[in-house]
Symmetry: C2
């Protein structure tokens, strides 16, 4: 067992020992909403938005983008499990702002690992040839997080599988303060 596995298993044992009546929670989110946000390690949506077990769906990916897979999840969230209000929450200082499709692809072509861990070849590049696997992926990078929230809300709003009566909100999370800011700002 790795050190990380040991830590997770120990924390999980403590959690399960104090599970209370959470084993009786229904699968349908009690508060009928879903959050789409970034995988960023600094973000804990349950904490920053006050979500208890059983309340809401939480969907996370790199950037919190309204990818096809996020839409798959949100449509299931609504159709199968009854959510009717969705929050798209990106954040300041996102790693997705530091790259473009071009730089991600170039980086994967040469299979460089992060600077602090040396160079290592991936399966896509066992013989030191350039790998072009990264060229086939749209990395959904971000230029400006206010704009990306607006674009993703618009994408969901226009999607043919998203019913008109789903309420969709956009927010930006500030990693320096922990605060959610509505985007675009509410009009008076």
């Amino acid at each position: 067992m790795s050190k990380i596995q040991e830590q997770i298993i120990a924390a999980n044992a403590a959690y399960a020992d104090n599970f209370g009546d959470k084993g009786t929670l229904p699968g349908r989110p009690r508060k009928q909403f879903a959050i789409l946000t970034c995988m960023d390690a600094r973000l804990d949506p349950a904490k920053y938005a006050g979500i208890e077990e059983g309340d809401a769906h939480v969907i996370r990916n790199a950037g919190g983008r309204a990818s096809d897979d996020a839409i798959r999840s949100l449509v299931i969230s609504h159709i199968l499990l009854g959510t009717r209000e969705w929050f798209v929450i990106h954040h300041t200082d996102c790693g997705m702002e530091t790259v473009t499709d071009q730089t991600m692809r170039q980086r994967l072509r040469t299979s460089l690992e992060p600077a602090d861990s040396g160079t290592r070849r991936s399966k896509s590049n066992p013989g030191k040839q350039e790998s072009h696997e990264g060229d086939y992926i749209n990395w959904l990078t971000i230029d400006d997080p206010v704009q990306s929230v607006a674009e993703d809300v618009a994408r969901l709003r226009c999607h043919p599988l998203v019913p008109e009566d789903i309420v969709i909100h956009g927010y930006l999370y500030d990693v320096n303060t922990g605060r959610l800011v509505r985007t675009p700002p509410a009009t008076a």
Copy 2:
């Protein structure tokens, strides 16, 4: 503002007011691991696995599946942000076990909402024609969650953008007990 929005904003204000020194956390996950798990409302991976802000990436979608978008996120997690150990965690009683591609597509064709909320037409079906939008999506449903964990670990293991030295673990979360169970079980 909706009632849910008010609740989230109030909870967020309390969180931000007690943010402490979390505003100085770096973007790179301190513990260099990532969890891929389900969006299910009953799951709080930070709680069930003991993750603090700054520790790890958390990726969530319907089922916790190793979708193309989850792979996009995990590759970014490793290449840009240095994670080297990944956990695929599905769970018992998953909504994705209750449907198949066929039943999801049929359900979307007739644009039925959940039984308790009546019938409502989506944009894909404004004129009561059958909509075939759902036919273009692979819903990544689950037959058996032990099998789906094994399949998703295998998919990641074999992916050309996943370096060989990334450690990948599979676990099943029991929603009745809160416990993580290794899958397949560890051999002695």
